[in-house]
């Protein structure tokens, strides 16, 4: 009788984890390819279409960057809380709150000045996203309310609040019934690069990535976050305040997501419209993991994710695939990559009468 069993690895080298990543990338491409074959399209052609669509032209490349901006920011938002083993999956809702606050500033506190509007909208979106994140943080710190459930539920409250405003008080009378606000005046828009849709949010995203790296690597606060993430019991023993850090981290995490919302409405859309976020908050969860919680790796992973998204759009047009099948392929690829992560931490061993292997239990050796 033989069985297979997962065992923790003693250690894994950099070379090894690079090998694992490439192997799971290959597996991902094969898995996606099988799916494409089943849909009767040529996988090789499809993959080259994805690359051509996302990187093959100036327009495609700029569109990939446009997608990478919000994904970088939500990835960083998730990274902050994940570092502390707090599972904020409410970046989506925090992003929406940030966008709502930006739109409210335009509506109620409008000044005809680029600088004033940037400062006001930036601050309002950061604060409202931050508060939206700090609420579940407080509940967790004070009464140990599960943050996964709380952040998830707050997503819906945020989304429906936006709907409420867009179908009601804030609806643009000129929109012919579509749920969106009136276009923002020019001074409430972010600066854009040439005639592309790439906006100043890209600068914010790069700065935030770099700041996150500095915080985690070089500051007392980042050190506390990492220790708390390893063990709350130990952190308390070293005199760290768990409550303060949960609140702070959830605020910062929510604020980054809020700023992402600001970038999307002020940089890209030019107005608040229903469905502007298209799940960036959830993509951020995956990006943070794929980046192995390394802030500097987040923009790179977000860029790869952008390729997948823009290439997927191309696939729809060129290969005439329905949206849902493109999303299936994308899901398949992500699933394989994430699944491959398992093997960087564990290995499969054959377990049987002949080749048994044991792992020493604590204190057994």
């Amino acid at each position: 009788m033989t069985k297979w069993r997962l065992e923790p690895r003693a250690s894994s080298s950099i070379f090894f984890s690079a090998a694992i990543t490439s192997a799971s990338l290959c597996a991902a491409l094969v898995a996606g390819g099988v799916l494409m074959t089943l849909m009767k399209v040529n996988p090789l052609v499809s993959y080259s279409e994805i690359l051509r669509g996302a990187l093959g032209s100036g327009y495609g490349f700029s569109e990939t960057l446009v997608k990478a901006i919000p994904i970088t920011l939500t990835g960083l938002a998730c990274l902050f809380s994940f570092k502390m083993m707090i599972w904020n999956i409410g970046a989506e809702g925090q992003l929406v709150m940030g966008a709502l606050a930006s739109a409210a500033v335009v509506r109620y506190f409008y000044f005809d000045s680029h600088v004033a509007m940037f400062i006001l909208m930036f601050a309002a979106s950061a604060i409202s996203g931050g508060v939206w994140g700090a609420i579940p943080g407080f509940l967790k710190g004070r009464w140990a309310v599960n943050e996964i459930i709380a952040t998830l539920m707050l997503n819906y409250i945020a989304l429906y609040t936006m709907d409420f405003m867009l179908y009601g008080a804030w609806k643009d009378p000129m929109s012919m019934g579509f749920p969106m606000t009136a276009p923002f005046p020019d001074s409430a828009r972010l600066w854009r690069f040439g005639n592309t849709r790439v906006h100043a949010g890209i600068v914010i995203a790069v700065i935030v990535s770099f700041l996150a790296w500095i915080v985690m690597r070089w500051t007392q606060w980042g050190f506390e976050i990492r220790v708390i993430g390893e063990s709350q019991r130990a952190a308390r023993y070293f005199g760290m305040s768990i409550m303060r850090n949960i609140l702070l981290v959830m605020f910062v995490s929510g604020a980054i997501a809020g700023i992402c919302g600001f970038g999307e409405v002020a940089g890209l859309q030019g107005r608040l419209s229903r469905g502007f976020a298209v799940g960036y908050g959830f993509t951020g969860v995956i990006v943070a993991w794929l980046a192995r919680l390394n802030p500097l790796a987040v923009p790179l992973v977000a860029f790869l994710m952008g390729i997948l998204l823009v290439g997927g759009d191309t696939l729809q047009v060129v290969m005439a695939l329905p949206l849902s099948s493109v999303q299936m392929i994308q899901g398949m690829i992500l699933f394989s990559i994430l699944g491959g992560e398992l093997f960087s931490k564990y290995r499969l061993r054959r377990v049987g009468a002949a080749g048994r292997s044991d792992v020493p239990t604590e204190g057994a050796v």
Partner: protein, 519 residues
């Protein structure tokens, strides 16, 4: 007190258990190397060795948890090869682990059925209960079969574990450090049970490092060192010193405790401290004592009688229900953990990897944990000066002779002794005024334990007030200036001259009898 081989052992009969040439390799190093071991019917056979000598590994091989990489095992003369613990149980081998494998939410009789290879669809409760009663009477193991396990004391839970083994028809009982959770009196009752079992023809294997105890109960001893079998001797023919030498491989240094009786002024004073544990039950009630500078105050007691809560209260980790803590003249009852650290209270917790250190972080990060918020480790209250921290860590590693590949390697790869040294280095490096040391040598090999004891005595000479919490009475009586004894969250009495006291007196107080031993 060892006895001659009993009538149940016929010279022609094969041994109950015979292990020959057992090898077990973990990550390329031998945990067991060519170990021979045999157990006769009706004997108590002790397996002695330092931490890491391979005792538990050998017994895990015998109980089917590990498969040996080489060697053979035979039971009653028949060769066996266990694929799983279940096979070993079927062959009559049962192991009681240090951490009990009982389900607290179930009753005693329900626990009996666990691990028996499938729970019957209809559980005949009356039959099971009757059988438990019969067994507990025969082996002097008093337990109420209907009681829920969570209501039982640790000693009672141990009896349930042993009953569970007997219920399964175990012939060979393996006990891992069984007396570490018992008072001296409970230990005596426990030894009676062992004798009843061996007279009925069972074989008992005791894993332990307490030499005195082992000599008084065992028939034979097998000693392991660094995974190898050093020898097997009759308990009647050896002295404590020879056994210790076989275990460690050299002659032991006795603890050189300075006899000076000088104590400084009172540094820490506790008045009627009461606190609750995590489940809300009162686990400290009305605890009062003083600690002077240059004093080692021993705290005796069976594990889990409020010692942990006392330490947590004295470091700000647990809030008080009532009472007052005075540190160097200031009332610190409401202070935060950080404030206690600032005021020079150092705490060496028993849970090194779960609390005292962060195993996935490297040596530098771990060394910084108690000072990262202070100059010079902290720059402008925001940034960390990793260069300074690296220098500091290098110094500590050199001074405490910590063996590590690099300062950047994670602490989890260090050996137990080096882990404890690192924690000690961090906790003692800033000349603390109060040191709370909880089981500081638990699980360490003899060399590392000697080092820790020497450091504690040095701190006493320097003028620190030290609270030493241990379940090892020998250690406490050897090192302490005074001993307080705790039971169920109360102080049962104070022993003023530990080196003149007897273990009996302390044991009675550990069992909950209040008395004031004043000698």
């Amino acid at each position: 007190m060892s006895s001659e081989p009993k009538s149940v052992n016929d010279a022609n009969m094969p041994p109950l258990v015979s292990m020959r040439g057992i090898d077990k390799i973990f990550f390329g190093s031998y945990a067991n190397k060519g170990v021979d071991f045999n157990l006769k019917r009706g004997e108590v056979h002790a397996l002695l060795g330092e931490n890491g000598a391979g005792k538990t590994t050998l017994m895990n091989v015998l109980s089917g948890i590990y498969a040996p990489d080489a060697g053979t095992i035979s039971i009653d003369g028949r060769d066996v090869s266990f694929r799983s613990p279940r096979d070993a149980i079927a062959s009559g081998i049962g192991m009681v682990h240090q951490h009990f494998m009982l389900i607290p939410a179930l009753s005693v009789w329900e626990n009996m059925l666990l691990g028996m290879g499938g729970i019957p669809f209809v559980m005949k409760k009356h039959e099971i209960v009757a059988r438990i009663k019969e067994l507990s009477k025969r082996y002097a193991l008093s337990v109420d079969p209907e009681a829920y396990v969570w209501t039982l004391s640790i000693g009672e839970q141990q009896r349930v574990e042993i009953l569970k083994m007997l219920y399964r028809g175990t012939k060979v009982l393996i006990l891992d450090e069984p007396t570490s959770v018992l008072t001296p009196q409970e230990t005596r009752d426990f030894f009676v049970t062992l004798r009843v079992m061996t007279e009925a023809g069972h074989g008992v294997i005791l894993i332990s490092h307490k030499i005195d105890e082992i000599l008084s109960i065992s028939d034979r001893l097998s000693i392991l060192r660094k995974g190898e079998h050093i020898g097997t001797v009759n308990a009647s023919g050896v002295t404590r010193e020879t056994v210790a030498e076989m275990m460690v491989g050299r002659v032991l240094r006795p603890i050189k405790r300075p006899d000076s009786e000088r104590h400084g002024p009172t540094i820490l004073s506790c008045a009627r401290l009461s606190a609750r544990n995590d489940r809300g039950a009162l686990s400290l009630s009305g605890v009062s004592f003083d600690l002077a500078a240059s004093e080692i105050l021993g705290v005796a007691g069976v594990v889990g009688n409020g010692q942990g809560e006392l330490c947590e209260v004295l470091t700000g980790l647990r809030s008080l229900d009532s009472g007052e803590i005075t540190l160097k003249g200031d009332n610190v009852s409401l202070c935060t953990p950080r404030e206690f650290i600032r005021r020079g209270v150092s705490y060496i917790p028993v849970d090194r990897k779960g609390m005292g250190l962060v195993p996935n972080m490297n040596l530098k990060e771990n060394a910084a944990l108690k000072r990262y918020w202070k100059k010079p480790a902290s720059v402008k209250k925001i940034f960390l000066d990793w260069e300074y921290i690296a220098g500091l860590t290098g110094e500590l590693v050199a001074r405490y002779a910590i063996q590590a590949d690099s300062l950047a390697s994670p602490v989890r790869v260090l050996s137990g002794g080096n882990i404890q040294k690192l924690m000690l280095a961090r906790e003692l490096s800033e000349a603390p005024s109060v040191i709370l040391a909880m089981h500081p040598v638990w699980g360490l090999d003899v060399g590392a334990a000697e080092f820790v004891h020497e450091r504690i005595l040095e701190e006493r000479e320097r003028g620190a007030g030290i609270m030493l919490i241990s379940e090892d009475l020998d250690e406490l009586m050897e090192l302490s200036d005074r001993i307080i004894v705790m039971s169920r969250g109360k102080i049962m009495g104070t022993v003023r001259r530990p080196r003149d006291a007897t273990k009996e007196e302390i044991g009675l107080m550990m069992a909950g009898e209040s008395m004031e031993a004043t000698r």
